[in-house]
């Protein structure tokens, strides 16, 4: 009797924490919608809603790799890139075939997730044997490869179907009325703008369900055991490769979903250092680390704050990235310095003790 009560209590505790996380997302959504309807939200903020969803999903997804699986990935934007391009290609070529934007976008999301997952497996199988910094560098390399390769891909469509080349648009040898969809470095233009805040929030919630439920399941424990002690995990019969690959692939697929939102939010899609290069991968890592490695809720909050910050600093003009850098450094030290952490803990502890006494 007493035993089962204890078990329930424990489940309740994780459940409670999860509910808070979902609650924050839903509450934020409702508040924003109310404000938008009341006309209280600026164009800038409205424009930022979808990017915020994109980076929140990226942060959660990378946290699965970095925080839960315990492997450093510096190429996460590469998966986003795969998701963005594959889905944009799909949407553009299906513009006529599937006129219903909702259905088309639904399939685009699946396509983006699928191809990103595929990339995750292709990279993961050979690469997950490596450890630590070596894995980091290989994922970085992979991200750069994807970016580099995508910017030499030319895909066109005419009556006889899709044409493909890595040389230039002329080499596609299309019929006269054919259209170039992916034009090398010039990328894709004219992707339908299907991403909305509502869809973004739904996708965040789905991402959260997947990641949080995974963590608190049998497979999640296996993944975390690999993180905590590889040798011990093997010794109790856990198939390390399988679980590493599983986490990595899920993480890649979610990044792919973020990519779909990305490509369907802007009408010009190119693969540059800025959006899909290592700079972006590192930016997402910043969300994860600043918010707390393995702390899903924290990384979501960090993603939102750091996506907003440079926009809020716009008034500083040429100084804004300088100030941004300083704020980033200060926040990192504030959040991570062991001395400050101790100090904060003791301060709160004291406060609480005093409150209790009162």
């Amino acid at each position: 009797m007493e035993k089962s009560m204890k078990i329930n209590f424990r489940l309740n505790k994780t459940l409670k924490s999860n509910i808070i996380t979902y609650g924050i997302v839903i509450a934020a959504y409702i508040i924003v919608q109310l404000l938008v309807n009341a006309g209280q939200v600026s164009n800038l903020m409205k424009g930022l809603l979808v990017p915020i969803c994109i980076y929140t999903i990226m942060a959660i997804s990378l946290n699965l790799t970095v925080g839960i699986l315990g492997e450093l990935s510096l190429g996460h934007a590469g998966f986003m890139c795969v998701g963005a391009f594959s889905s944009a290609l799909f949407s553009i070529s299906m513009l006529d075939a599937i006129p219903n934007a909702g259905i088309r976008f639904f399939f685009a999301i699946l396509i983006g997730a699928f191809f990103a997952a595929l990339a995750g497996i292709v990279v993961g199988i050979p690469v997950l044997r490596l450890r630590g910094d070596y894995l980091a560098i290989v994922t970085l390399a992979f991200g750069e490869i994807i970016k580099n390769v995508i910017s030499v891909v030319y895909i066109g469509k005419d009556a006889s179907g899709l044409h493909f080349s890595t040389k230039n648009a002329m080499a596609l040898n299309m019929a006269k009325e054919g259209t170039v969809i992916i034009n090398g470095a010039q990328g894709i233009t004219g992707t339908p703008k299907n991403s909305t805040f509502t869809i973004g929030v739904i996708l965040i919630l789905i991402t959260l369900v997947i990641v949080l439920n995974l963590i608190h399941s049998r497979s999640g424990r296996a993944i975390m055991s690999v993180r905590d002690n590889r040798i011990a995990a093997e010794s109790i019969g856990i198939n390390i490769t399988k679980y590493k690959l599983m986490a990595f692939t899920i993480s890649a697929a979610l990044a792919g979903v973020a990519g779909v939102l990305y490509s369907h939010n802007l009408s010009a899609l190119t693969a540059t250092q800025k959006n899909f290069g290592y700079n972006q991968s590192i930016m997402i890592l910043v969300f994860v680390v600043l918010g707390g490695i393995g702390n899903i809720r924290g990384s979501m909050i960090a993603a939102v704050l750091l996506t907003l910050l440079p926009e809020l600093l716009r008034g500083l003009n040429t100084y804004r990235m300088l100030i941004y850098a300083i704020i980033l450094i200060v926040m990192m030290i504030f959040n991570w310095s062991p001395k400050l952490i101790d100090l904060r803990k003791r301060y709160f502890h004291k406060n609480r003790a005093e409150k209790e006494r009162a």
Partner: protein, 236 residues
């Protein structure tokens, strides 16, 4: 005056108070044992003395200096050596390089070499494995290396955290002999041990630590006959 004097020491891990007002002293030439159950705070005490941890309040005097706020490496330079819990050998470095690092604070090449030979004599296995990366040594071999490395600094005080852990019976005896020998040659010893019986048998004085506070103290032989000590730590 005592060589090492700890007064009203308080140490926290975050909000957890691990040491509560601990005071004790170690006189020159003594062997002092610190015993206590798992988690009593023995390791914490030693870490604070050698500067790996910072105390929240209290003072530590060593050799006439207040070392409470002094950087750990300087404390070592003043003549304090520490054999840490968990051995902490430099895994990628060879046995020889580990030993050389033990003598980091010393300059005289000839003297260092002398000590090295002395250690090789006491731990022949280390000489045998001179060039093996320390990380691949067996548990007991690493324990010997940790001990040898600390002795390389020719310290005034040596602080030992469970030096017999993982050693075979024959080596446990050996290590206690070595401790006594080192002590005879002029080094003061502060010893933390689970093997309380052995520890008390070679110590002059002892302190019993319970949940972060000193519960008992006194002459080692008297403590060995103390009923509560017998019951709690000697399993008799």
């Amino acid at each position: 005056m005592a060589l090492l004097e700890v007064k009203d020491l308080e140490v926290y891990y975050g909000v957890i108070k691990a040491l509560k007002n601990i005071s004790f002293e170690v006189n020159e030439g003594e062997i002092v044992a610190l015993i206590g159950a798992n988690g009593a705070g023995k390791t914490t005490t030693l870490h604070t003395i050698t500067g790996l941890l910072k105390s929240a309040s209290g003072t530590i005097q060593f050799d006439g200096h207040d070392i409470t706020k002094i950087r750990g490496d300087k404390i070592v330079g003043m003549g304090m050596a520490h054999v840490p819990e968990g051995r902490r050998v430099f895994a990628a470095l060879s046995v020889y390089e580990n030993l050389k690092l033990g003598a980091y604070t010393r300059r005289d090449k000839n003297e260092i070499d002398e000590t090295l030979q002395m250690i090789y004599k006491r731990f022949p296995r280390l000489l045998e494995r001179k060039n093996q990366p320390a990380g691949t040594l067996s548990g007991g071999e690493q324990q010997m290396l940790a001990m040898g490395r600390a002795l390389m600094s020719h310290p005034k005080v040596i602080v030992l955290d469970e030096p017999s852990m993982g050693l075979s019976p024959i080596y446990v005896n050996e290590i206690f002999d070595i401790i006594q020998e080192v002590n005879k040659s002029g080094t003061t010893v502060l010893l933390v041990e689970q093997n309380a019986k052995k520890a008390l048998s070679i110590a002059n004085r002892a302190y019993v630590l319970e949940t972060g506070a000193i519960a008992l103290s006194g002459d080692a032989h008297e403590l060995m006959n103390n009923d509560s000590v017998k019951k709690a730590y000697l399993s008799e």
